[in-house]
Symmetry: C2
Amino acid sequence: MTRIAPAGPRTHKKQIVLAHGGGGQLTDELLDTIIRPRFGNTTLDAMGDSALLEIGAGRVAFTTDTYVVRPLEFPGGDIGRLAVCGTVNDLAVSGAEPRWLSLALILEEGVAIATLERVLDSARGAAEEAGVQIVTGDTKVVARGQADGVYINTAGVGVVRAGVDLAPEHARPGDAVLLSGTIADHGMAVMLQRQDTAGVRSNLASDVAPINGLARALMDAAPGVRFMRDPTRGGLAGVLADLAERSGRRVSVDETAIPMRRETLYAAEMLGIDPLDVANEGKLVAVVPPGEARSALDAVRAHERGREAAIIGHVGEEADGLCELVTDVGGRRVLLKPYGEELPRIC
Amino acid sequence: MTRIAPAGPRTHKKQIVLAHGGGGQLTDELLDTIIRPRFGNTTLDAMGDSALLEIGAGRVAFTTDTYVVRPLEFPGGDIGRLAVCGTVNDLAVSGAEPRWLSLALILEEGVAIATLERVLDSARGAAEEAGVQIVTGDTKVVARGQADGVYINTAGVGVVRAGVDLAPEHARPGDAVLLSGTIADHGMAVMLQRQDTAGVRSNLASDVAPINGLARALMDAAPGVRFMRDPTRGGLAGVLADLAERSGRRVSVDETAIPMRRETLYAAEMLGIDPLDVANEGKLVAVVPPGEARSALDAVRAHERGREAAIIGHVGEEADGLCELVTDVGGRRVLLKPYGEELPRIC
């Protein structure tokens, strides 16, 4: 029963095999050569069962999201960048400064190590951009046909800014609704990669980016900010319908004020999709008191990710909890949260 | 372009469909009727983008794990219980009191809602048992053949006990190695469900359980504890080999002192598997200074999950970083970390 170590130098495999997930030497090899070097920091390198974080007294924000986007790589980003930005952004719109992330991989047997490396490089790049550390992680491998390449879960911990208390219920009549830039770029870029759109050339790229800098600038300029959210799954329509419902107020939005790229609009029309329902991954919606709307807009526009920001609507007196869209021809319609999503696995 | 809400009362579907993951009304329905009621607490009910936690000054432990166990339900537990206990236990062996968990689901289209409900009930039961709250979550749905039923990621946040600083590097010559109970029960119970073992009857059940109470009792009785770990993937062999390697000391273990159920041993022999390599999900390995070994053992044995605890070995003077197993016939062999795992998806 004496155990013999495998002879010779360890093969650096080109593809993920099931044993990479077994918790043995091959898992160590994957962690030591492919994963950990990319995210090296003293907390992660301690390789304990948990990361140990030094947090001062105060409120802490904690969030999680799993990313199953298909394809793994798309114009403007990939699942690694998305997984970091998505969780950073959920913390940021909670009024927290994102600090620490976990990164948990589900790998399908047969995934090319080169693909995994690109995805991890891009996760690292996004983490650097956002100023967060990846401090703990996990890797599981499942057999072919039991996943679709790579799924990533990230959870995140951030420190909530003192005095900040954000919730859709805090919206008051007269408040302005601010949007940090063009909508639907992420979802449409991913969909165009997936649909059979032979012959259609497009410059569309996902907007996937960390928005914590944007949120920080906005909170500095508008300390009375009531509510922030990033319009991901469910799109801008989902956020606005939820804001109206939970505040109990009428939210009125001017369709012509919503920034949108021409090519995104064309792509949406071609596929018969309402861009208001489509996921964004680098945008911020904020509700600010009327007296701070101007300074908030200026601050967001001064940020490189907020050049096209606009005030797109306001919170009304009517206590009906509806979101009303005033269309470009002057019509009005009630914005509902989408029922499902037109296409799954957009994030 | 006026949107019409689906007519009539919402169907309570019997199976997961892709639109359950779309972030729209159907996602809300799943969250409101199936998921959130099971874990209701004011933090989760706030439904923000992040959970907001009140943490006093001090060190915080943060960890994550994804669970892909197959089958979803096995003797002694299921993936829901496993996902909560695994993360609770990673926090506990870091010297932290587990407090808050995230729970992120990847659901395969077609999964029965009834299965999901059982799994979630069992996650809730385990959370209650461990005294933790599930405060944030996420749900994604992928098409048939892109997952295998249900995958769950949990991340956890805990508060580190003041003065506790645990690491394998802290082990010193003379320290005792304590194990809280029988090994290999989880892995063998799951494997027996998977292997073609027609005709084999077994009473084997997984040991999946929260061990934070056990860790607390041990730290109370042995405040000088050097290191704790739960021997999951890679088994007891993985933990001991890692302890030896990272402490740089010889770790000697007496095979006859390792508690093991007879039926577990038989099952392992039948399948040709070394039980030392097999995953456990409710056990604790601890390294304690010699002067505290007796009180640590008494405290762990006094706990309902530690009745069969034993001192299984000690840390030696030799600075070779090897783990030596003294076998039942008096032979010696070097314990290596398993290369891969015999069978994937055990946790």
